[in-house]
């Protein structure tokens, strides 16, 4: 039984009668995405795998631009060229997508605008916004300055807003809220002033706090032994800035946590610094920690471990398993048993000389010699890490995990040598970086095929796989490309004026399969020519 079927069954079981007639039927949240793409990742699994097949290797040569929608908001504070980093939701023929401070609803068949919501922020970074969450008739959006805002999906009118993070303390908020049952899960970001991370569940009707899980333990709690003192723990970072995933059958919420603070200067926080740079499994009803796996113990390289924890079932070395896979920013590909967090695979997919290898639990062991130094430490990974926020994909038809990876070299500097450093405390400087698309075998961690992009620069595009035996992503120079997922052969491409800047998504309406990508400030929709 594949995870899609499990999610479908569990989703239907949870369907309350009151939702009949509402815009988004909540059962859709647990189903493989076909006529609806109701969450950031399309479904709860994070696989970004669509069961649609109309666009396939035989038909793709008639795939053509159907419409485009240009956001036209112009330069934003600190961002001269705002990009669509959100993955649109598609519900009942309407697409809902964002850039920082703005939400749009457009007709999914034509690109016609229905409404636009504009938020006037008072602070926060406008580096990106990942999109909205949806529950029944309501949308959920985060302003950059810590405001959690609910909109009526029908007309974009604000229902209410509540403050979930304090921008004056240098928190900022960018993630797409994740809807799990009657919980709206909200995470936060902010590395500049050593504030503690947390994840919250909010009430869908009022925004009231249901629970808060703190990324750091409090003194006396389990995990406190991995920090030197209360002060380090209270200022330890560990942000929760990308949407996690959910297994309805196990009723576990999976989330990645960010780097500890101060980011590059670890001398004031000796210890492994739980639960930063970890994958955690939480009970979505209580926010209680069920298990954790720490991808970068005592991180000093800004290895936010927030990349999507992708859920799938399959055979691992002869045994049927419920798994979780992540291509981590620290350069390691991890496969865990998602029932208990036990490590199955920990293998670097790019250079990872910051680590000396892995321990008995499969967790990388940091190499002290490669920690940031005042005169620089040379790393065989670029300063932004092996990958970053752009979503990966898992294709169950091929058993391959796909990631837009970045090879490179960088220098890691320590700039704050104080016994009690503050802020970032150092910096990373990329020397050379080069984009590759990797297809990783989850049973071995070996790279089955790798597409080396000839263009300079980094591909920061998400990935979509489909049952139509296609893999979609972007290259650094603006090509939207379709590959054969098994061989890595290129089957189709279309040159856009900017590189694909979000995760491609797809849906079927009136018997037509659409493929939608954001590139720069514009959304592009493709369908087959008739």
């Amino acid at each position: 039984m594949n995870v899609g079927k499990i999610l479908l069954v569990a989703g239907l079981a949870l369907l309350p009668a009151v939702f009949v007639g509402q815009i988004l039927n909540p059962a859709k949240l647990g189903q493989p995405p076909t006529d609806t793409w109701p969450t950031y990742n399309g479904d709860y699994s994070g696989r970004r795998y669509s069961p649609l097949t109309q666009i396939n290797p035989s038909s793709i040569h008639s795939l053509a631009l159907a419409w485009m929608y240009r956001t036209q908001v112009g330069p934003q504070r600190g961002e001269p060229f705002p990009e669509i980093k959100s993955t649109p939701l598609e519900v009942n023929g309407i697409l809902y997508f964002t850039i920082p401070d703005h939400v749009w609803a457009v007709n999914a068949r034509t690109g016609e605008k229905l409404w636009q919501y504009d938020w006037v922020d008072h602070g926060g970074h406008l580096i990106g916004n990942r999109g909205v969450g949806m529950y029944g008739n309501w949308l959920y959006f985060l302003g950059p300055d810590g405001w959690f805002i609910s909109l009526n999906a029908k007309d974009g009118k604000e229902r209410w807003k509540v403050h979930v993070a304090d921008a004056a303390l240098q928190y900022f908020t960018t993630m797409a809220p994740l809807v799990v049952k009657n919980h709206i899960i909200v995470g936060v970001g902010g590395d500049a002033m050593d504030v503690p991370g947390y994840l919250e569940a909010r009430d869908p009707e009022t925004g009231a706090l249901q629970w808060r899980w703190n990324t750091e333990p409090r003194p006396g709690e389990p995990g406190a032994e991995t920090w030197p003192d209360k002060g380090a723990m209270e200022h330890g970072g560990g942000m929760t800035w990308l949407p996690g995933t959910y297994d309805p059958e196990l009723n576990l919420l999976y989330w990645g946590t960010g780097n500890p603070n101060p980011v590059y200067a670890g001398q004031g926080r000796k210890g492994s610094n739980l639960w930063t740079c970890s994958i955690v499994a939480l009970n979505p009803d209580t926010g209680k920690l069920v298990w954790y796996f720490q991808a970068s113990p005592h991180d000093t390289h800004d290895w936010d471990n927030v990349e999507t924890p992708v859920l799938f079932d399959g055979v691992f070395h002869g045994q049927q398993r419920k798994m979780l896979a992540q291509a981590a920013r620290n350069g390691y590909f991890f496969v865990l048993d998602r029932t208990n967090g036990k490590d199955l695979i920990s293998v670097p997919y790019v250079g990872a000389n910051w680590a000396k290898g892995v321990d008995a639990k499969g967790q990388p062991i940091p190499n002290v010699a490669k920690e940031p130094k005042t005169d620089g430490a040379l790393l065989n990974i670029n300063a932004g890490g092996g990958t970053n926020w752009f979503p990966p994909s898992y294709d169950p038809d091929f058993g391959l995990f796909y990631v837009n990876a970045i090879d490179g070299y960088s220098l890691a500097y320590l700039t704050d040598t104080d016994a009690k450093p503050e802020g970032y405390g150092g910096s990373g400087r990329t020397l050379w970086a080069h984009s590759v698309l990797e297809a990783i075998d989850y049973q071995t961690g070996q790279i089955r095929w790798c597409h080396d992009f000839p263009a300079r620069g980094s591909a920061r595009s998400g990935i979509l796989s489909t049952a139509g035996r296609l893999l979609f992503s972007g290259d650094p120079s603006g090509n939207l490309i379709a590959w054969n997922p098994g061989s890595g052969d290129i089957l189709w491409h279309f040159h856009l004026p900017a590189a694909v800047s979000n995760g491609p998504m797809t849906y079927e309406l009136d018997g037509n399969q659409y493929l939608v990508v954001g590139a720069g400030d514009t959304l592009y929709a493709f369908q087959l020519l008739h």
């Binding site: 004056a168 303390l169 240098q170 500049a192 002033m193 050593d194 200022h235 010699a369 130094k373 005042t374 005169d375 620089g376 430490a377 040379l378 065989n380 070299y409 220098l411 500097y413 320590l414 700039t415 040598t417 104080d418 009690k420 503050e422 802020g423 970032y424 150092g426 910096s427 400087r429 020397l431 050379w432 992009f453 000839p454 263009a455 290259d475 120079s477 090509n479 490309i481 290129i490 491409h493 040159h495």
Partner: protein, 223 residues
């Protein structure tokens, strides 16, 4: 003002001593121009051992607030961070490394003469590890950096050489030696790229951190 009145308890950098770290203070972080901090400092927190500074004028309190906001900016804005001394290696060992690894393409008295006067040490470190294509590390500081050169073989067998302008999986374009622009679909031509930085990428795989520090210590002598 801060030094005279506050540093004794809160430290010269305001990061805390006997008194709390002010850069992590909610009052400081919420204050804009002394409107929160001023009344607080005038009143003090006698219960926690902080005396009242009732005699401070508005202007003095404003100066203290400005100092603290600058300190927060210094810490929070990583664009302002300064890399410290990076010249820690052994210049003699660096010269030996240079002579054995770099002289096939470079000369300390030719293209790299005076290179240390063109870059500060931290930039020089990054530049020798992997030169920026626009920073003028090569050829005595010309404005154009090392370009990738392409040899394109057409279906007829004719070859055209030039400076690579653009290449993706589908298209290549070059400027030939006369400055003429050419472009072809990749699947109709054969392309060979010669990249002057290829040697730098190979060296990146082999440097120890000691090699890197030694080589920098040598290169900074090329004033």
């Amino acid at each position: 003002m801060f030094e005279q009145n506050c540093a004794f308890c809160h430290g010269a950098k305001a990061t805390g001593a006997e008194g709390p770290d002010l850069l992590r203070s909610s009052i400081v972080l919420h204050d804009q121009k002394g409107e929160l901090l001023g009344p607080f400092v005038r009143k003090g927190r006698p219960d926690k051992g902080m005396p009242a500074f009732a005699a401070l004028t508005d202007a003095q309190l404003y100066d203290i607030a400005e100092f603290l906001h600058q300190r927060v900016e210094d810490v929070a804005n990583r664009g302002l961070y300064q890399v410290q001394n990076v010249v820690t290696g052994n210049a003699q060992a660096g010269k030996a490394f240079f002579d054995s690894h770099c002289t096939r393409c470079h000369s300390a008295t030719g293209d790299l003469a005076h290179v240390a006067s063109k870059f500060d040490p931290a930039d020089l470190q990054a530049q020798f590890l992997y030169p920026s294509r626009s920073a003028g590390f090569f050829r005595g500081g010309e404005s154009t950096g090392p370009s990738e050169m392409a040899t394109v073989t057409l279906p007829s067998g004719e070859t055209i050489n030039g400076r690579l302008k653009y290449m993706d999986d589908f298209t290549i374009s070059i400027y030939d030696s006369s400055g003429e622009y050419h472009s072809w679909p990749r699947n109709e031509v054969k392309v060979q790229i010669k990249d002057p930085l290829a040697g730098h990428r190979e060296l990146l795989k082999t440097y120890t951190d000691a090699d890197m520090h030694n080589l920098l210590a040598y290169l900074v002598t090329l004033k």
